[in-house]
Subunit: 415 residues, 2 copies
C-alpha cells in the first residue's frame, strides 16, 4: 500500500459528525501522485490506536495522523505512535517556552497541563504550528514514515502543506494530469450514455462521473510512472472529444461553482438579474448571493409563495391562475416578465412547481417544475419532472434555472 490517513477522535464517531481532514489530505496526496489506499476514523483509545498504527506501518509507506495532540488525557496520539514504533517519549524543555510564548501573546498564562505538549517521540522532527499550541511530528522510520498533525483544520492544513514538498513528494511514484468538466441540464445516465463509448477506449486517463442534483461533473485522471508527455496527450485527446460531444451542456472547465460562473458571465456582459421564486422559496437568490460581489449583477426579486403575491407583486393575471394553475408554463412566464419589469433588471427568472411531498394532482405530479427566463428581446421556458424529496427537487430546480440563464447567455453569443 501507499498511504493510510488516520483521523483520531471519538467525537468523529458520534452523531452527525463528519471528519474533513482525511478528505483534504487524500486530495492533496492524490494531486501529488501518491494514492491513499485507506482512510480511518478511530476513537481516543490508546491501545486500539497503537495496534492500528503498528499494523498500518507494516503495510504502507506513509501514515498520516490528525488529532489527539492536545494537552488533555484524551489526547493519546503521541503515546500510541510511540508504542507502535517502540520508541520513547522525551521531554523538550525548549518547547515549553514556545508554548508559553503563544499563550503570552494572547495575554494568557499557560495552564500547567499544556506542558504535556512538549513531549515528543524520540527521533522525530518537530513541525511548527503557527496557529495553535500542538506541534506536529514527523518520523522517518525504517518501516515507514509517520506524520502527526493536530486536528483543527485551520492548524492542520498549513502544517501539512509545509511538509508536503520536502517530506512526501519523494514518496510519490506517479505523475498526475487532470482535466474536468461541469455539465448542466443533463442527468448522470444521460452524460454516461453519450460519452461511455469515448472514455471506455482509454484505460489511462481514468474517467469518473460525479453527480449532484442538477450538475454532472466529469473528471479525467491521467497517471504515469515515467514522464507525463504521453499521458498528457491522451488525457487532452479524450478531454477534447468529450468537450465536443457535450458542448451544448458544458458549463465550465474551471473549478468554480455554477453560481459563480453565472455571476462572472453576467458581469462580463453588464447584465442584471432578478428572480421570482415560488417552489424554491428563495433558494435561487440564496445560491446566487453566495457569490462574493454578486450585488453587482443581482438586484433581488420576489418570493411569491402565495398566489396573492404572484398577482399583487408580479402582476400575474388572475385568469391565468384560474385557467392554467399556479404551476404552469403561463404563470411562470408572467412571473418572469413581472419581476423583470418590477425590478428593472435585464433578466427575470421565475420558477413555480410542486416540491412535494404534498400538492400533486392527477395532472401535475410531484416534482413538476416550470422555469422561465424573460429578457427584453426574448423569452425561454423549460419544465422538468424532478425525482427525489422536497429539498432535492428545490436544489435541482435552482441548478436547472442557472442552466437556463447559461443557455440564454449563449444565445446572445451566437447572435
Amino acid at each position: 500500500m501507499r498511504a493510510i490517513v488516520i483521523a483520531v477522535g471519538s467525537e468523529m464517531l458520534e452523531m452527525n459528525r463528519q471528519d474533513t481532514n482525511t478528505l483534504y489530505i487524500t486530495q492533496k496526496l492524490m494531486e501529488k501522485g501518491l494514492l491513499v489506499d485507506m482512510k480511518i476514523i478511530i476513537g481516543d483509545d490508546m491501545q486500539n490506536l497503537a495496534w492500528l498504527v503498528k499494523q498500518a506501518c507494516k503495510r504502507t509507506q506513509l501514515v498520516v495522523l490528525t488529532g489527539g495532540l492536545g494537552p488533555t488525557e484524551d489526547d493519546i496520539t503521541r503515546e500510541a505512535v510511540a508504542t507502535a514504533l517502540k520508541k520513547e517519549l522525551e521531554f523538550r524543555e525548549e518547547m515549553v517556552a514556545q508554548i508559553e510564548e503563544r499563550f503570552r501573546k494572547r495575554g494568557l498564562e499557560m495552564p500547567e497541563i499544556n506542558t504535556r505538549q512538549a513531549f515528543i517521540i524520540k527521533g522525530s522532527e518537530v513541525i511548527p504550528n503557527p496557529r495553535g499550541t500542538a506541534p506536529g511530528l514527523f518520523i522517518d522510520d525504517e518501516q515507514c514514515r509517520v506524520l502527526l498533525l493536530p486536528g483543527p483544520p485551520a492548524e492542520m492544513k498549513p502544517m501539512f502543506d509545509s511538509v508536503l514538498e520536502e517530506k512526501i513528494s519523494p514518496l510519490c511514484n506517479y505523475h498526475i494530469y487532470t482535466r474536468s468538466f461541469k455539465f448542466g441540464g443533463v442527468t448522470e445516465s444521460g452524460v454516461d450514455s453519450l460519452i461511455a463509448e469515448l472514455y471506455t477506449k482509454y484505460k489511462n486517463p481514468k474517467t469518473t462521473i460525479l453527480s449532484s442534483p442538477g450538475i454532472i461533473e466529469v473528471h479525467l485522471l491521467g497517471r504515469s510512472r515515467k514522464a507525463m508527455d504521453e499521458t498528457r496527450i491522451l488525457t487532452d485527446e479524450l478531454a477534447e472529444k468529450i468537450k465536443e460531444r457535450m458542448k451544448d451542456a458544458l458549463i465550465t472547465e474551471k473549478d468554480i461553482s455554477f453560481e459563480q460562473y453565472i455571476v462572472e458571465e453576467l458581469k462580463t456582459r453588464n447584465l442584471t438579474l432578478s428572480v421570482a421564486e415560488s417552489c424554491t422559496g428563495g433558494g435561487l437568490g440564496n445560491r446566487i448571493t453566495n457569490v462574493p460581489g454578486s450585488s453587482d449583477v443581482f438586484l433581488g426579486g420576489v418570493i411569491a409563495y402565495s398566489n396573492q403575491l404572484k398577482m399583487k407583486l408580479l402582476g400575474v393575471n388572475e385568469n391565468t391562475l384560474i385557467k392554467h394553475g399556479a404551476v404552469s408554463k403561463e404563470t411562470a412566464k408572467e412571473m418572469a416578465n413581472g419581476v423583470r419589469q418590477l425590478t428593472g433588471a435585464n433578466i427575470g427568472v421565475a420558477v413555480t412547481g410542486i416540491a412535494g411531498p404534498g400538492g400533486a394532482t392527477a395532472k401535475k405530479p410531484k416534482g413538476l417544475v416550470f422555469m422561465h427566463l424573460s429578457a427584453e428581446d426574448m423569452d425561454m421556458g423549460i419544465y422538468q419532472i424532478f425525482p427525489g424529496a422536497r429539498e432535492m427537487v428545490k436544489t435541482r430546480t435552482v441548478n436547472y434555472s442557472l442552466n437556463l440563464i447559461r443557455e440564454y447567455l449563449w444565445t446572445l453569443d451566437k447572435a
Copy 2:
C-alpha cells in the same frame, strides 16, 4: 474492540466524495448500545481488503462492510472476505433466478455479468435486498461476525435495519439512554461556560456540545452495562438542570430542524410569516420552505438586494437609507414593517447586513447584520457581528432570524 465499520469503494477516496453509510451504521449501532471503535474507507483492492478484514476480525466482535457487492470486476468484497476468513465461494443457482426476476419486473433481461452476484461465501446467511440486485451476507464465524451490505444507501439502510434486532442486538453490551437540546441565539463557548459546572459533575451521562452556525446542540448519553434505572435518573437529572439554566435559549428537545419547529409553532398559533431579505438573498425563505407544508404559514416576501427595491417594494424611506445606511437598525425595521404590510402577513422579518468579504466600512465591520421582526402589536430588533466567511455569515443570520421568531412567539405565550 466492539465494532468496525468498513466502506468499500475507490470512488469514496476521490475528490470531494464523502461516504455516508458508515455514519448511518455507526449511529444505529450506538443507539443499540454497541460502540464503533473505528470506521474505515478503503479502495477496491482485493488484497488490501482481505488483509484489513483479517486484521479486523482478530480484534473485534463485529465487522460491517458496505459496497463492492455489484456484478463488475471492481466488486471485490465477497472474494476479499472469503479470503480473509479462509472460506470458499459457492454458486447458488436459486439466486440467479431471483436476480433474473428483478430484471424482468423492470422489463429488462439480466446481463450475463450479474450471475456473479449469485456467488456467496460458504456458510453465510443471505440477506434479501428488496431494492436492488446485490444480496447481503451475514457470517457468524468463531472469530467474529461479519455483515456484508451493498453500497447504495437506499438499498443498504433497510437491509441493515432488518438484521439489527436479530443479529446485532445480542452483541450489545450496553443500555443507552439519551437526552438532547437545541439552543438558539447563543455561541458554543457561551453554552459551555453556563453548563460546564453542571455536566462536569457527571461522568455518566457523557455530555457533548455540537456547534453549527447559529444553533448549538447539547447531547447527553447515558450508558449502563446493567439495568438502566440509575443511569436514566442521572441523565434526566442533568438534563433538567441544563434545561433550567438554559431555558431562555431552548429551541426544542425534539429531533426536528429549527425551521420545522418554527413552522409548527406558527401553525399552532394560526400566524402567517413573510420575509424581507437583503444580505441573505433568499436564504431565510429557502430554509423555511424546506419544511413540507410550510405554505400554510409562509406567504413569501421580497429579496431586496438593491436599495432601489428596498424603497420601491418595501417602502423604506430614502432619508433612512441616506442617514443611517442600508445596513442599520432603522432600515431593518422599515423593511420588516414594509414586508408585513405588503404581504398582509401577521409577521414580517427583515435582515440587512454585510456578508463580506467586501462592503465593510470603518464603522460597519464585515459580519454586521441587523435583524428585525414586525408584528401588528410589537417590534423586535437585534444585531450581531458574525464571524466567518460569507456563507457562514448568511447561515448564522438565518438561524438568528429564526431565533427572533421563536423569541417573539414566546412573548405571546407569556402575555
